[in-house]
Amino acid sequence: MSREENGQEVIVCRCRDVTEREVKEAIAEGYDTMELLKRKTMIGTGTCGGRTCLPIVQWILARETGRKIEEIRLPRERSPIVPMPLKFAAGEKVGDME
């Protein structure tokens, strides 16, 4: 018996609080690429930038759709690489922090 059937929800994206069940439901509804899953469920859009959840979701998507993991392209990395406070991006130095 899987953990889900066992009554436990498995969180796959802890930044955005997304469960394995939500990801599987989205895939069943036809959101079957990483880009679509990202926009539908918000996986990969948290403060860790998807470092934790994207490989897990990639694996779930491969399994659910019978594809090889290498066939599943990850969403493109976007700037900034780590979340950045507006005031740093605006050029204020770290020393200026109140």
Partner: protein, 381 residues
């Protein structure tokens, strides 16, 4: 060869809305061809804003009707059109004068824009720094809708109906047959034969034209946007626009992040490049933390780029063009998303009934060749 009555190229907000209203008009054989996925062009990259605050009569009329359609569409296909208003912050007497004039015109066409005092603006969003704001222009009927919900809403609606939506299907050639009656559309997913062909390919409109030997004067300019980490929703409800800060616009999404952007420097040449630039991050951060100071501490999560597909006069080109039953719905500049529902309705009427009561003459693509350029529509936000 697959035979269809209407083939639409591009599944952004424009192509999807045209397909929707054609099916409402009873046209059965409609196919939308999309090289990526729904909304993968500029639509999914846009700032989500929908407004009727424009400076020219045709665009105000179109947007008044478009906002009515956004409401109906939201109910029918299942997304939220949140009418939280557009708030233009005005810092100088000249700006106030300009927006007062616009307000008068907008009011005369049924758009309930008001000029607010700084204190009234602050009531709408108490995070704005109003210390130098002299007044604000506000239309409570303007608002926002999330493009992902909208485009996937259409997709689901079509799955249950008769419109055929082909994603991951790229058009790579067009041939005309039997005079110019039949258009043979070659794609990575087979060939289509159609009488009516609609070019709704956004920033790529010119490439589609070239396949038919036409020069469609639409040029892609890169525009960029950001989203911040979420915080308590409801703190920044209106779309806030500031001319003092390089035409910056920002608002909070339903999920709590701030989405928005800033104008592209005028000397940046047109490009098909969709990469984001670091200099944008710096400029947008300066602008946003000056308009809403508490955003200083908020973190940017993602940053992306898309196109403003510009026509020579900054107004869309809508209607039949040069070849019988070949229609354009292109050149939307910075306001194609908001116009989609009324463009869809109007173009469907043009295709089926050959006429519409909407001011489509103003947007007739033939105006460009005749040299009858219109005044550019207000581009901000």
């Amino acid at each position: 060869m697959i035979k269809r009555d209407v083939v639409i190229i591009g599944a952004g907000s424009t192509g999807l809305a045209i397909a929707y209203y054609l099916s409402k008009q009873g046209v059965k054989d409609v196919t939308v061809l999309e090289k990526g996925y729904v909304g993968s062009g500029s639509t999914g990259r846009c700032g989500t804003g929908i407004r009727a605050q424009f400076a020219d009569e045709p665009t105000i009329k179109m947007m008044k009707r478009s906002e009515e359609n956004w409401n109906k569409l939201g109910e029918e296909i299942g997304f939220d059109f949140r009418q939280t208003g557009y708030l233009y912050l005005l810092y100088t007497e000249e700006e106030i004068e300009q927006y007062r004039k616009m307000k008068k015109l907008q009011n005369s066409l049924g758009v309930p824009t008001e000029i607010l005092s700084p204190a009234e603006a602050e009531e709408l969003c108490n995070l704005i720094d109003t210390s130098e704001v002299k007044a604000a222009s506000y239309n409570p009927e303007d608002g926002k809708a999330h493009p992902f919900e909208v485009t996937t809403g259409f997709k689901k609606y079509f799955q249950e109906g008769e419109v055929e939506l082909k994603e991951q299907t790229e058009v790579n050639g067009i041939k005309l047959e039997n005079g110019e009656k039949w258009k043979i559309v070659k794609t990575t997913g087979g060939n289509y034969r159609t009488k009516v062909l609609v070019n709704a390919a956004g920033g790529w409109a010119r490439n589609i034209g070239e396949m038919m030997g036409l020069d469609i004067p639409v040029t892609p300019y890169r525009h960029q946007a950001i989203i911040t980490e979420p915080f308590k929703p409801g703190r920044v409800e209106p779309m806030i626009i500031s001319m003092r800060h390089e035409d910056a616009y920002l608002t909070q999404t339903e999920r709590g992040g701030i989405i928005g952007g800033i104008g592209t420097p005028e000397d940046e040449p047109p490009t098909y490049e969709m990469r984001e630039t670091l200099s944008f991050e710096e400029r947008v951060s300066k602008a946003f933390s000056s308009i809403v100071p508490s955003l200083k501490h908020t973190r940017i999560l993602r940053h992306w780029a898309g196109y403003y597909a510009m026509s020579p006069d900054g107004n869309p080109m809508l209607g039949e063009y040069k070849i019988p039953d070949h229609y354009l719905a292109v050149g939307f500049s910075g306001h194609g998303y908001m116009m989609a529902p009324i463009v869809g309705e109007g173009l469907a009427r043009l295709i089926v009934d050959r006429k519409t009561e909407l001011p489509f003459d103003y947007y007739d693509p033939g105006r460009i060749d005749k040299g009858e350029l219109r005044e550019s529509a207000l581009q901000m936000g």
